[in-house]
Amino acid sequence: MPASVQTRRAACVAWGLPALLLSLALTMALAACDSGAPPPTPAISDEPAPTWDGEFESAGGQWRLRYRADPRPIPRNAMFELDAEIVPADANVRITAVDAFMPDHRHGMTLRPHLRALGGGRYHVDGMLFHMSGLWELLFTVRHVSVEHGTDTERVRFEVVLE
């Protein structure tokens, strides 16, 4: 069966262009938006930072992808790294690429990040750089194999807004 590519929107941020440019840097998951819960507040208080910056659950609920940035929140125009996990760990579900894109500007990053599989469903990404303010789509390409669907390639998208 040929591989198919689907794009899943994993994050939701309410914005118009002025709001986009004037809002605080936010990273949030679609699940929070879909459930009607208020968006998480950037960690500026004494409270411990959330463990993950974004999480996505596959359509059938067989696997989840979650990530966190270092440093956090993601800085504007400074390099950062990502840790990502597929849970539960499954040799048939793998992250194969990470990239980012600015849909309003129609360009991506100026650097090509390196993705490293650490084993146990864990990954590390070096060489991330969001060099401009605005809406970024953080894109994880996930390849999964199942008896029912063969090999599928799914693109999981998180939205990040940098002021």
């Binding site: 125009n77 060099h131 303010s133």
Partner: protein, 423 residues
């Protein structure tokens, strides 16, 4: 003086007094909290980031020697051009003409960028074909349109001129023995445009080539250490931005400049590329500027390819450590025709403008972005750079704001050649 003239003089005095008062009245506009956050993204300009590729980057002795070299014409083939010839301290370490003039009257291919705040760059040259200041400095020394020398010629001169030798050895230790001209010819370098010097270089052993390259790059590391001192900060804008929340008056930041600032961070969208405390994202964009002289220039596309092939990049054997972005950069398909966003600090002192130097005045630049006249109907970055249709008074305001980005003058001792090194 007639009565009529006296009245006129009094009237002028009153006008001057009112104008001065307005200039000092400072915070007239009510900036919102969101605007204040954006304003403060541009200040303060801290210390330059560390340069892991140059272990002498912050060495005072290296900087002093580098300053001596920077102003020394003997690093050029005909003893007529120094770094300071094009990077003129009287013109904000840039050139007052569209192109620089190198040895023998040759013109440089692009406009000479300022060296002010050079140490904050991620990439160097308009096309980013170097990833460190010392690597950048190797290229004009051998460029036939600039200093037109070669690394063997320069190494020999340093070894034979007493003060240059003394300066080198005080920082880097004993110079290697280059006296055997069969091993170390008078002229040699891997230059594609000069077959004689390229042949001489090819005839050298790899070990001797490395000896020369080490001397050559040590010299440019000293020059880079000097350039790190060329920092422009503490402008009227910085003082205004520090006070904007407190509503304290700030001298030198007129109401017009405030309106210009509001445009800069708002409708003008200038901050998208001219971001952060150095007013540059340090990356590359295609502004659809009409080609100067009709010449094709691939900009960042060609620059990246040259960078990755350059043995003097920060991953090469002459670097003291990799600068992280180099590990991840690649020649993006959409990067052809892109050029680096220049800093706007001290921009009023560094005319003319753009990578071609084709705009003589700030007003010309602003008008280009306002009207977008002469650009193709579609271009790669139309999502970012859109026609603004600014009024004349809005152009006045933006220009007034840009004038406030001039920092305190550099210490005069950085603007001329210091006393010769004595060892």
């Amino acid at each position: 003086m007639s009565a009529k003239t006296r009245v006129s003089a009094i009237a002028k005095l009153v006008v001057v007094a009112i104008t001065s008062s307005a200039a000092v009245s400072a915070i007239a506009l009510d900036f919102t909290e969101a605007e204040i956050r954006l304003i403060r993204q541009h200040t303060p300009l801290g210390q330059p980031p560390p340069d892991p590729s140059n272990r002498w980057a912050d060495d005072p002795a290296a900087a002093r020697f580098g300053q001596y070299l920077f102003f020394d014409t003997r690093l050029s083939d005909r003893n007529d051009v120094s770094c300071a010839t094009c990077h003129d301290p009287r013109r904000g370490f840039a050139t007052g003409t569209a192109r620089g003039t190198g040895t023998g009257g040759h013109e440089t291919a692009r406009h000479v960028p300022t060296l002010l705040n050079n140490a904050y760059n991620r990439w160097f040259f308009w096309d980013g074909r170097a990833d460190s200041a010392w690597s950048q400095a190797t290229q004009p020394l051998e460029n036939p349109s600039e200093q037109a020398g070669d690394r063997l010629q320069i190494a020999h001169r340093v070894s034979r001129i007493a003060e240059l030798r003394a300066g080198y050895e005080a920082v880097f230790g004993k110079l290697p023995d280059l006296s055997d001209t069969r091993r170390f010819p008078e002229h040699a370098a891997p230059m594609p445009h000069d077959s004689a010097r390229a042949r001489a270089w090819g005839a050298m052993s790899a070990a001797d080539q490395q000896v020369v390259d080490r001397v050559f790059t040590n010299l440019t590391k000293a020059i880079a250490a000097f350039e790190r001192k060329l920092v422009s900060r503490d402008s009227a804008f910085d003082r205004f931005a520090a006070a904007v929340g407190s509503r304290e008056p700030v001298d030198g930041f007129s109401e017009s400049a405030q309106r210009g600032l509001r445009l800069f961070i708002g409708r003008g969208n200038c901050r998208l590329c001219h971001s952060g405390p150095n007013f540059s994202d340090g990356e590359f964009h295609d502004t659809a500027l009409p080609r100067a002289g009709g010449l094709r220039d691939t900009g960042r596309w060609g620059g990246t390819r040259r960078l990755l092939a350059d043995p003097f990049n920060s991953a090469g054997p002459y670097s003291d450590g990799v600068r992280p972005p180099l590990r991840f950069v690649y020649a993006r398909q959409d990067s052809s025709g892109q050029f680096k966003t220049p800093t706007l600090r001290d921009v009023a002192r560094t005319a003319p403008y753009m990578h071609t130097g084709q705009f003589e005045r700030l007003r010309d630049v602003l008008r280009f972005y306002s009207t977008r006249e002469g650009i193709p109907r579609t271009h790669g970055e139309q999502g970012i750079i859109q026609r603004l249709d600014l009024s004349e008074s809005e152009l006045d305001d933006l220009e007034a704001f840009l004038q406030t980005l001039s920092g305190r003058p550099l210490p005069p001792e950085l603007s001329s050649q210091p006393a010769p090194p004595t060892g």
